[in-house]
Symmetry: C2
Subunit: 143 residues, 2 copies
Amino acid sequence: MLSKKAKYGLQAIIFLAKEEKKKKGPIQISELAEKENIPKKFLEIILLEMRKQGILHSKMGAGGGYSLGKSADKISIGQIVRLLDGPLAQVSCLSKTAYHKCDECKDEKTCEIRKVMKKVHESTARILDRTSLADAVKGKVNI
Amino acid sequence: MLSKKAKYGLQAIIFLAKEEKKKKGPIQISELAEKENIPKKFLEIILLEMRKQGILHSKMGAGGGYSLGKSADKISIGQIVRLLDGPLAQVSCLSKTAYHKCDECKDEKTCEIRKVMKKVHESTARILDRTSLADAVKGKVNI
DNA sequence: TAGATTATCTATTAAACAAATAGATTAAAC
DNA sequence: GTTTAATCTATTTGTTTAATAGATAATCTA
């Protein structure tokens, strides 16, 4: 399951991507929180994390707010989910972004669990990394 | 990520499936715990849950222990994971076994997050539901 | 330059969940 | 009736999730 954090983050960035098209400058946290029904303070934390990764851009002060940090077709859904919820892999020995040998595992080569989850991970990563924010907004999912 | 519970459970049932072939009667929790390096008391809980679902069978008293509750080709990996870690779906509105409307969601039909995660869920469920315990033990994964 | 606006930082909290442990009880075999 | 092994009841510890509060820093406008 996605955490609320990841869900809120996705909702927010999708909202921003849609606004981007209207060319009306940055959106304030409070507006975003209200429109998407997300607890404001929690949203602050989430947006900040995305900004630190460069997928969002922010501006302080009057007339400030949040906007996309790069073009929506350069942001993948996978990147967002990994950032907010951690690795996509079901077992850490499969993660490319955060590899870590499983504690109990005797032999990665013969581990049956790993073998099954490898397929799951591959198909998940494939979909999420190939589908950009721009695609998602259009309702297009690349398999 | 799989929880330790699910990982332990899979390790244990795979072990049992392999033993089944040797036709040597049930395996005791303590042996299982030792061979697979799983905390015994924790393993008890896990095995019990699987027994209650009918995928394991147990026998008390001397000479007792655990064995598969049905043939390994009638147990899917998906069933085990769902049992121990809950629904496979990334968002509850996609789960067939535990459907639940998302709190914040305005319209399921147009939700972009749902649309992407639907594909992920479909491919995950496909793999895990089509791969039986017997397959997994053979190192075979059905896509 | 003062005041308003808006993001950012530091800190804290409550509740839920994950992971594990301890001890008593029940069922079966011999 | 003693031994073996699963089962039940209860508790504990630590971590994570989700959220809130209040102070601070940057930017705009009048």
